[in-house]
């Protein structure tokens, strides 16, 4: 009997070690391991991490927190997939560091009435040498708007002739869309109304890269779900996609401007844990860390650490209708909202919770928004728009509160309970507690309940008006305020604030009637001050993204997405 038991244990051990030995590694072999470990030790000794420099190939390893979800340009709606497509595909125009530059379209003409856009395509090729044609762009536009694709990011292109009808299923013949190929190199887009944001939306979009109909049809629903089911037409081509682990790009020799692309190989590794990612950067295992926790800010020098705007505005959104009738009465009082706003110490919160890395917001439109000329920004042109102090202003806050209570005919004790809703992500709970606490200490109000849910549940509650105060981080187009500002108009479909204002809606609608940027920005400035004075948004922060880049590299940036098209070794 003893033998049997020992035998069983032995058998188990053998089976386990056999299984353990079978290996599920995502790539690499023991030899590669050895060199990898060696590399680490070299870094420890302070020598250069660029061992490849000697052999002549240029390689870059980028650490990110999240993998792409799909490579299908029509269906993606997340930044990470967008980032991968941005580097491996190219659309009509490109958005490089906030500027619109030519892409596959060498040039374009706009008709007198601003309704017809004619794009002239250059001679360019896919990774397999096939030409890129206007017809492939037509197919991509049609596929984005076709309700049978399951696309979500079409709403910026509804100004195209028949786009709305196709999205709604009223027109099923996709060829009726106002996007036509005149010949292989000429693409004509016709709009039904003028759209001042059309070009910048087109340049910023990751959803309209050319598509080869035959290839897409052949892959069916699997298009873009693996590296094999995807064709590159951009500066880099996709070499491999080990899902959840890494994406490898190599330089695309077929790219028309291949000379401008310096890196031979870029590896985008997914390291979810922020501290692990930071350790790997410190150890030289990755050259770039695309998201650094604010708490580690002080570990890096200014030639390594960069703080880039994230293109979003964080506000407390007030439900002026209230979650209950009682809270609605209070929250529709503008002075009450002002009291809440003036009691918040934005600078203090920023220092305490974000290590001072955010930009404090006293207004709504993103500071990075370009102005009416190439040299100026919107903020430089309209510096005086403001609706909140940077640090708490207890005197004014209480002044507003007393005014509000007088208008409401209530005392502080009579105020109803109010619900502060936020998502269960990141540090939102800490912010909520700090803000509610400042209302308690500065205003003497103790009537706020913090409620947290997972992302979908939180959004459902917000859309159903099941909140009084909602922590909102929102942003869309970094180049133009229209998308963001139109959310709060009477027809804005996520405007569940109970604020239905004619003056504001008119101002925003007027910005769509002219192509003149100066005139439009003036309207936006007026609308911004108006909503700050009367509306449901309390500005808090403009978030930023902290990245660290090994000083041996240049050309790496974080704009709307991570950008490393023109990455190179530093001289």
């Amino acid at each position: 009997m003893r033998k049997k038991v020992v035998g069983f244990v032995l058998a188990c051990t053998v089976a386990m070690s056999a299984l353990a030995g079978c290996g599920t590694y995502t790539n690499g072999d023991p030899v590669a391991d050895a060199t990898q470990t060696e590399g680490n030790q070299q870094n420890e000794n302070g020598s250069s991490g660029n061992t490849e420099q000697a052999t002549g190939t240029k390689e870059l390893t980028i650490g990110v927190s999240t993998d792409a979800t799909s490579l299908d340009t029509s269906v993606i709606n997340d930044n990470n997939s967008g980032e991968v497509l941005y580097h491996t595909s190219e659309g009509l125009l490109r958005n490089v560091g906030g500027k619109i530059v030519p892409g596959i379209a060498e040039s374009y003409d706009i008709s007198e009435d601003n309704l017809t856009y004619t794009f002239h395509l250059r001679d360019s090729k896919w990774e397999d040498g096939e030409p890129i044609t206007a017809e492939q762009f037509v197919y991509s536009f049609q596929r984005l708007l076709d309700p049978n694709t399951g696309a979500t990011e079409y709403d910026k292109f509804l100004s195209i002739v028949n786009a709305q009808e196709i999205v709604d299923g009223e027109i099923t013949d996709l060829d009726q869309l106002g996007v036509k190929a005149e010949d292989d190199h000429t693409l004509v887009i016709t709009l039904k109304q003028i759209s001042p944001t059309f070009l910048s939306s087109l340049a910023a979009s990751n959803n309209l890269y050319p598509l080869r109909e035959e290839f897409v049809e052949q892959c069916g629903t699997a298009y873009g779900t693996t590296g094999d089911n995807y064709l590159s037409c951009g500066p880099y081509k996709l070499e491999a996609w080990n899902q959840g682990t890494e994406i490898i790009y190599v330089k695309n020799d077929q790219y028309y401007d291949a000379d401008a692309i310096k890196m031979d190989k870029i590896t985008r590794v997914v390291i979810e844990d922020a501290n692990t990612r930071a350790s790997m950067f410190d150890n030289g295992e990755i050259d770039v860390n695309m998201s650094v926790p604010a708490s580690l800010k002080d570990n890096y020098d200014s030639d390594t650490l960069f703080n880039d705007p994230a293109g979003t505005t964080t506000t407390l959104q007030i439900n002026m209708d209230g979650m209950t009738e009682e809270s609605g009465k209070v929250l529709s009082n503008v002075n009450f909202i002002k009291a809440l706003s003036y009691a918040i110490d934005r600078e203090g919160l920023n220092m305490a919770l974000a290590n001072g890395t955010y930009d404090v917001a006293t207004r709504l439109i993103d500071p990075a928004t370009p102005g009416s000329t190439d040299e100026t920004t919107y903020w430089e042109e309209y510096p005086d728009v403001s609706g909140a102090p940077t640090t708490a202003d207890p005197e004014k806050a209480n002044e507003y509160l007393n005014k509000a209570l007088e208008e409401l005919g209530m005392t502080k004790e009579e105020l109803p309970r109010m619900t502060y809703l936020c998502m269960e992500t990141g540090q939102l709970k800490l912010y909520a507690e700090a803000i509610v606490d400042s209302w308690k200490t500065v205003l003497g109000l103790d009537c706020f309940d913090i409620v947290q849910y997972p992302v979908p549940t939180t959004i459902q509650n917000m859309l159903d008006g099941q909140y009084d105060i909602y922590w909102q981080q929102n942003g869309d187009d970094m180049n133009d305020p229209y998308m963001y500002m139109s959310y709060w108009t009477k027809t804005g479909s996520i405007n569940v604030t109970g604020w239905m204002d004619d003056t504001y809606t008119d101002l925003i609608n007027q910005t769509e009637l002219t192509m003149d940027r100066g005139e439009r920005l003036e309207l936006f400035a007026e609308a911004e001050q108006y909503i700050l004075d009367n509306g449901p948004q309390i500005p808090l922060f403009f978030f930023t993204t902290l990245i660290t880049v090994n000083p041996e590299f240049t050309g790496i940036d974080y704009g709307a997405n991570a950008e490393y098209l023109y990455a190179d070794y530093a001289e």
């Binding site: 009997m1 003893r2 038991v5 069983f8 386990m16 299984l19 353990a20 290996g23 599920t24 590694y25 995502t26 690499g28 023991p30 590669a32 391991d33 990898q36 470990t37 680490n40 030790q41 979800t69 799909s70 269906v75 709606n77 997340d78 930044n79 049978n148 399951g150 979500t152 999205v167 699997a222 298009y223 779900t225 080990n242 899902q243 959840g244 682990t245 590794v269 997914v270 390291i271 844990d273 501290n275 692990t276 350790s279 150890n283 295992e285 998502m423 269960e424 992500t425 997972p454 992302v455 979908p456 549940t457 939180t458 959004i459 459902q460 509650n461 859309l463 929102n474 479909s493 996520i494």
Partner: protein, 306 residues
């Protein structure tokens, strides 16, 4: 035996069916939909997506469609990872988690059993206190602390081992140790308690009275009987360990199945949640089944009849 197996199979199928049904309707009671991500979609676009994926149909109709597809082995497509099939994602990530899990069990079980046995044999002596200390520390220190500490010592400070990723044997050492610590800790405690309990049994006294040697008593009587509670826990323990650990996989950036369990629920990725639940359910039922058969081998008193 055959009848027993057949009976167990029928019960297993019913269990899985109940699990799938229950999970399906429970999921539908959660507010929100899979298209509500941090990148807020407009409500009219959300509605279009709901009808595109047939999520606007009555729940029962959706349920019938889902179960029908499931019978054909089709778990559907993930919402979060657009157009990727749930089965493909499971098959891509599960082997990695299972690999890591097996390694940690291969270390955790022998070490845990050994420490537990030593502690019980040396009860009240230094060795006992040391083993108990190890197990208390292992249970109470969370594995992300242990993992980070290992990363810091072996990765950052000495550069002996890579900090993260899953690319070869050297990459697997730290996560394996991290994951096995909890197993070692809990097994040491269980084994020690179990050994001590057996020691007071009548058959132990009989064995001693028979004049059997110390070794003989421990090997033949004490260990075998003490193993029974361990084997009971073996099925669920193997199943949960192979299903990956959210924290360890995230810390060491291992593309395993662990994160999907948490992520899919948070994102309300219906098909993914159901697929994982059913997959885990089948695995757990199978593991328990095997354990029940193993009982008979270890303990002659539990022989399977009908």
């Amino acid at each position: 035996m055959k009848r027993y197996i057949a009976k167990r199979l029928v019960i297993s199928v019913i269990t899985i069916w109940a699990l799938a049904t229950f999970s399906f309707f429970l999921l539908k009671t959660l507010p929100g939909n899979p298209f509500q991500t941090e990148q807020l979609l407009k409500p009219e676009i959300q509605e279009k997506m709901m009808s595109y994926y047939g999520l606007d149909k009555p729940y029962f109709e959706q349920y019938l469609t889902y179960m029908g597809n499931l019978l054909h082995g089709d778990m559907g497509y993930s919402f979060k990872y657009t157009n990727r099939s749930v089965w493909d994602i499971i098959m891509q990530t599960f082997p990695i988690s299972a690999d890591l899990g097996l390694r940690s069990l291969a270390i955790g079980y022998p070490v845990g059993l050994l420490l537990g046995t030593i502690a019980a044999r040396r009860r009240g002596k230094k060795a006992d206190y040391l083993c108990v200390l190890i197990s208390v520390l292992g249970v109470s220190v969370p594995n992300f602390v242990i993992g980070s500490l290992l990363q810091w010592v072996f990765g950052v400070k000495t550069g002996l081992l890579p900090i993260a990723q899953w690319k070869g044997f050297s990459y697997s050492i730290l996560p394996t140790i991290t994951l096995s610590i909890a197993t070692i800790a809990s097994l040491t405690r269980t084994m020690r308690a179990s050994m001590l309990e057996v020691e007071n049994q009548d058959y132990m006294k009989t064995a001693k009275a028979k004049g059997l040697g110390e070794k003989e008593i421990v090997w033949r009587h004490q260990l075998r009987n003490a193993m029974i509670p361990i084997v009971t826990g073996l099925g669920p323990a193997v199943a949960t360990t192979l299903m990956g650990s959210f924290i360890v996989e995230q810390l060491f950036s291992i593309p395993g199945i662990g994160k999907h369990f948490t992520e899919s629920v948070q994102a309300l990725d219906y098909t993914m949640v159901l697929g994982l639940t059913i997959f885990f359910g089948v695995f757990l039922v199978a593991a328990n089944f095997i354990v029940d058969i193993l009982y008979g081998i270890i303990d002659p008193r539990i022989r399977i009849t009908d």
